[in-house]
Assembly symmetry: C2
Homo-oligomer: 262 residues x 2
């Protein structure tokens, strides 16, 4: 990998930044398909999103950027355009910079999440799903699960009002899907998705109590780093199937390349 | 080379950007010394320097950036601090971003230029030198040559007033050095330095007439890309010694690493 003035430059905006591996995954992918694109993470605090995005508009060799915690929702008001998918989800995780400096947001978390699930042999259609978290990534997974036709979706979130808001938005888009908010017994669900950041740090508590989880349950933890979270390790030890965030990220690579193509 | 959230990020600001190779040279150097630093060029127009530098202050994992044509002089008014060397030269080619987001400019062109000259076995002390150009890079080479004790320095520049201004600044700092401005016969000088961008593009005219140049003359063309400019090729064909900008850039690598060290 050689980064020169001919390379198209991309970023990944995050806060904190130390855990970010998406840049390495993207660089490896672009290299594997022979595209001269170079991706660097940028540590940007929420208050600084405005000036940073204003500057990226002026960086004429920048092709776009990824957006991760905590910017997936907040970034939208700084963009010129948002795809229908991202608008509906209410969160953006990739932004394309046009040659004119316009910024267009899309959400590739949703197709990446579903692609990862199906690649692991799990078809969510007609299944009972529970997800923890209702933030930027959680918005994408909830819409993805509804679109894929789950029989039921329970959203568990520390901030119940935020979960309710997401549930209402999903139900409005998919009136046939039953979306509930509140607590539930994980053992009652075939698919359990963690969309919170609990598990990124060593010593984090589990995002949910996994008593009763075992064979017949699939745990999808969308955290990318570490590759195997404590939740995944303990659920696997109890016999559950597990999927990590790396799969979801990998599934997005082809979509990103198409999205930022000149 | 793997770029992750743990990498320290750097940029090279340029306009145009297509010819930039400094990022690749820097990445190779940092890799060779085992430092996790990743450098990307950014194409930034002169009018956009302000917002881009304001944003870089907010990018908390950015260690600093290089500055090249046409920003070496203009960047100064956007910085918090400039080293005494860079202040005297009136041009900056590397900027360190402190943990607090302060921007400190230095000029490593001057020591890089001299280091490259000496590494090729040319000691400028007591020699007659002529340089073409009086821009950001030309300011650094003029001060470097004066500091190294050349017997005479002639500055040839399209804009004579700008050359005069540089000559005055050099003479004020080094009263013992004779600095002239205007035209001259290159054959009268042992060292001829091109600091203009003529030679970067295919089809550029030579920056000077090299009639009479041959053995006993050294041509130093500080253009990095192409590695061998037309000026260097034709002067070499006439028997002159030649030095390219790659040598000057390489000489700066250790200095950059020390300058941006946390």
């Amino acid at each position: 990998m050689e980064i020169t003035g001919k390379s198209r430059i991309m970023f990944v905006l995050a806060d904190p930044v130390g855990h970010v591996r998406a840049s390495a995954v993207m660089n490896a992918y672009f290299q594997s398909i022979g595209q001269d694109v170079a991706v660097s993470p940028l540590h940007v605090r929420p208050d600084d999103l405005g000036p940073v995005l204003a500057a990226i508009r002026c960086m004429r060799n920048v092709a776009g950027f990824g957006v991760t915690i905590p910017h997936k929702v907040a970034v939208i008001r700084h963009l010129d355009e948002v795809t229908a998918t991202a608008r509906r989800i209410g969160a953006v995780n990739f932004v394309k910079r046009t040659a004119e400096g316009r910024l267009i947001g899309d959400n590739l978390d949703a197709p990446g999440f579903l692609g990862g699930l199906r690649k692991q042999g799990f078809d969510p259609k007609g299944r009972r799903a529970m997800q923890i978290g209702a933030g930027g990534a959680g918005r994408a997974t909830a819409f993805a699960l509804a679109e894929a036709g789950v029989a039921e979706l329970l959203i568990v979130n520390r901030d119940a009002a935020k979960a309710r808001q997401l549930a209402d938005a999903v139900e409005q888009a998919f009136p046939d899907i039953s979306v509930r908010v509140g607590q539930g017994n994980p053992a009652d669900f075939e698919l359990i998705v963690n969309t919170t950041s609990l598990g990124m740090q060593v010593g984090d508590p589990l995002p949910l109590d996994i008593k009763g989880i075992g064979a017949g349950h699939t745990i999808y933890d969308i955290i990318v780093n570490p590759a195997v979270t404590r939740l995944m390790a303990e659920a696997a030890a109890q016999g559950a199937g597990t999927i990590g965030g790396g799969v979801m990220l990998d599934e997005q690579m082809g979509l990103v390349a198409r999205f930022i193509a000149p």
